[in-house]
Amino acid sequence: MHFVPHTDAEVAEMLASMGLSSVDELFAAVPAALRLAGGVDLAPGLAEADVAGRFDAYAAANRPVGRGLVCFAGAGAYDHDIPSVVHALAFRSEFVTAYTPYQPEVAQGVLQALFEYQTLVCRLFGLDVANASLYDGASALVEAVNLAVAATGRQEVWVSRGVHPHWRQVVATLAAGTGHRVVDVALDDGLTAWPAAGSPAALVVQSPNYLGCIEGVGAAGELARSLGALLVVAADPVSAGLLRSPGSLGADVVVGEGQPFGAPLSLGGPYLGLFACRREHVRRLPGRLVGETLDTEGRRAYVTTLRTREQDIRREKASSNVCTNQTLMAVAFLVHLAWLGTAGLRELALRCARGTRYCREALLAVEGVEPLSGAPVLREFAVRTPVAAGVVVDRMVEAGFLAGVALGEEYGGGLLIAVTEKRTRAEIDAFVTAFEKAVR
């Protein structure tokens, strides 16, 4: 199966009009020695129905969350309800099959959606400027670190161990290029214990953090200001329904993983990186920014702006190398969040917090199950279990639950458990019952 419309007759006619007799002649510039004799070394094309069959087989070899595997796993990827409007609207073909809005006159759809998305990200995070999305939470954090380094001229970055370990790993991987020093800051009873002195470019904290604990963002902000550093906060957009915004608590840059709004779990992607900062940093903003303006007739219009930050103009001096981002996921984020609305966002956070409280209390009543931290939590919490967390997870799978994510060595083991608004009391009760058996 192929998607080339040309008939043989048309190809011949096109060639003839150019005075050629074969398509091969057009490839004359490719040295003979480089020519592939046998074409692409892949099986012949499949019909649409056969591709579907192949994908059925892949899907059947997975075990998705759902009725047969009730999800209590989070760790940066959450099992929230996605309302039907998200797919119906964000995945309309006009949004799906558009390119980056280079011609604003015929791209007001994507541009206005991004303008609205930026507005919402700023409101969630309590900041002034947000970009049109980055790849994921980790890449947003990398960009935030880069911004802080550039803004302060300092090379050391303090990163709390409460930040998602994968994100810290990505920051470390990419710091090999930029060369700044990443200093891990340990936790104490689940909360970051900052050093009192130093000259970091930034303090990086996640709240609620990887263990689910609500961090003292305000205090971190004061410390950052006193050290002349920026405060970078990794925040959860769902928590914005109940918690004070990082911006209001002193954050200079806020990043986040946008997955909870509009993105299915899908093995971890595509999600989207949220990024917002104070207005003073706008010229260092990575990625695309949409602004409002007017057209020649004075009508309101939107356009990508401050393009001179970007790589296609600034090249090696650009604020970032990002070009393609996750716009479609930003549109899905917009639709999901707009559907929730002001009251719905709060209600969502509240329902997560209630389920988490209910589940946590019940689990801590199980013999041998201990809290990893006593700090307040919102949608996720960690426990220590009498048998290794990995074993618990495997046993719970047999009972029909994805019980959570086993914590690594740096947290001294333990199991990280998330409870979203999807979890019913009956499911939680059944989970606890199965858990009692699994930890023995």
Binding site: F3, A29, A107
Partner: protein, 509 residues
């Protein structure tokens, strides 16, 4: 009504009905309205105050918007009608490969068995995904002539940076980490290349193009030294031309111990014809969202896997899905997640843009080896036919067989009638086509970079050529005032930057 909010059911912003601006979500809001609803759970209804410490609890709800589902649907549907897309018509944006994205691919990935898989699931639960990713990796290696790949980079630029970090790791392992500090880049390169070089911790050394639009071999030689970590090239290059001397270039770079990086944005031209591996490249990124019909989504998500030769494979990011010795017949899982021996580490929160990767794989499967070869043949045929037709009307700076795209220039029109590339682009919109890429590559003045792609028919091409010729001849409407047919006219970009309004809340009141 007293809220003064905008009427969500009025459709004058849909181009079918009128040319008004579409109100924002915030204008459509009315206090107390909502679309949200939540499943019944039976969980005890503790109050926010009981759940969150006072210091952390916000005083007021975060203002989002207060709209009905009906108004939200109408709003987004109207916005969609204000947006051009491949599904509406041809989108000949050079370097972007805006081909038609087959609908079967949407359906292939729309399965609960793919979409509802938690990324932190134990591997026993994700064997299907891992098989899929491993199959895709294998295919990409066959297509590029490489040994191994990482699927983590979520876009081309991320792939570039990953590739440069691989370069670093390679040189570092060879004890040359400190010495190798420069990366060569042609002056025609895409902006992500130099930006990535900086982020990779290297300095950019620009290599000029020669009169034929290719890397100037003498200039290259002059810039090669043992402080060169490598060179980044696209081939065909951003002028749409095949670098005929690629073997010589590879030899020269390898000679000084440098590596060759292949920017795969233009891979659509050479599928089944030749492979970066055969040309001598060591590292290749692919833009699956260009070559393999992952739709661009208005700016993303994409996917930018990086494939490498054997000697670079140990440095690839992890974790990767790897086939185990045992497999289901042997009792265990067929695939496990593993880090290569000297892995540079993790390059994505999870495993890359998995659903986008799956989508590309469905496209590759549907096309097969035969179909992919046909893709490039038709892409190159289309671009050359167009070049042939436009010749004489537009300046064609390097007028010889191009590959999948051609770069024309409006310099002659500018001289003759004050018509800039920008004007040509805006008039193209009136002709029912998206505009070509303009002012790129930077080495061509008033550049118009046209990539018709293989999915446009000869009839569409002919109409596109006619439109471009009409515009050049000035026989239609005046291009300076274009576009007149779109819901907004030319947009004031300078004003946007001068009076920055990045959010609804930042509007002057």
């Amino acid at each position: 009504m007293s809220t003064g909010s905008a009427p969500g059911g009025r459709a004058t912003s849909a181009p079918l009905m009128g040319r008004d601006p579409e109100p924002t979500l915030f204008e459509l809001s009315s206090p107390g309205r909502t679309a949200a609803n939540f499943r019944a759970t039976g969980v005890p209804e503790w109050s926010a105050e009981e759940l969150v410490p006072a210091g952390a609890l916000r005083d007021e709800p975060t203002p989002v918007a207060e709209v009905s589902e009906r108004d939200l649907v109408a709003h987004m549907t109207r916005l969609s009608h204000r947006q051009f897309s491949v599904d509406l018509g041809a989108y000949p944006l050079g370097s972007c490969t805006m081909k038609y994205n087959p609908k079967l691919c949407d359906d292939a990935v729309a399965r609960a068995g793919l979409a509802d898989v938690h990324p932190a699931s134990p591997p026993a639960l994700t064997q299907g995904w891992m098989a899929l990713l491993a199959d895709l990796e294998d295919a990409l290696c066959r297509i590029t002539g490489m040994a191994a790949a990482t699927l983590q980079p979520p876009a081309g630029a991320a792939g570039e940076l990953t590739g440069l970090l691989l370069m670093r790791a390679f040189h570092g392992a060879g004890g040359q980490g400190g010495r190798r500090r420069r990366v060569l880049i042609p002056d025609s390169a895409h902006g992500t290349n130099p930006a990535s070089v900086t982020l990779g911790g290297y300095e950019v050394t620009q290599v000029p193009s020669d009169a034929r639009g290719c890397v100037d071999l003498d200039a290259l030689a002059a810039r090669l030294d043992d402080d060169v970590a490598g060179i980044m090239l696209t081939n065909p290059n951003t002028l749409g031309l095949f670098e005929e001397d690629i073997v010589a270039i590879a030899g020269a770079v390898h000679e000084v111990g440098g590596l060759l990086y292949y920017d795969g944005a233009n891979l659509n031209a050479i599928l089944g014809v030749t492979r970066p591996g055969d040309m001598g490249f060591d590292i290749v990124h692919m833009n699956l969202h260009k070559t393999f019909a992952v739709p661009h989504g208005g700016g993303g998500p994409g996917a930018g896997p990086v494939a490498v030769t054997d000697r670079l494979a140990p440095y690839l990011p992890g974790p990767r899905p790897v086939r185990t010795a045992e497999g289901p017949s042997g009792g265990g899982d067929a695939y496990e997640w593993a880090y290569p021996e000297h892995s540079i580490g993790r390059a994505h929160s999870w495993h890359g843009n998995a659903l986008a990767l799956a989508r590309a794989w469905s496209y590759i499967l549907a096309n097969g080896g035969d179909g992919l070869a046909r893709v490039s043949q038709a892409a190159v045929l289309n671009a050359n036919w167009l070049r042939h037709r436009l010749r004489g009307t537009y300046d064609i700076p390097y007028d010889r067989p191009c590959m999948h795209e051609l770069v024309a220039s409006a310099t002659n029109l500018k001289r003759a009638r004050g018509l800039r590339a920008l004007d040509v682009a805006k008039r193209m919109l009136e002709e029912g086509f998206h505009a070509p890429t303009t002012y790129f590559p930077l080495v061509v003045e008033e550049a118009l970079m046209i990539e018709p792609t293989e999915t446009e028919s000869p009839q569409t091409l002919a109409a596109m050529a006619d439109a471009l010729i009409r515009i050049a001849a000035g026989t239609g409407d005046d291009a300076h005032a274009a576009p007149r047919t779109s819901p907004v006219g030319r947009v004031d970009e300078a004003r946007a930057a001068r009076q920055l309004i990045p959010t609804w809340d930042a509007r002057p009141t």
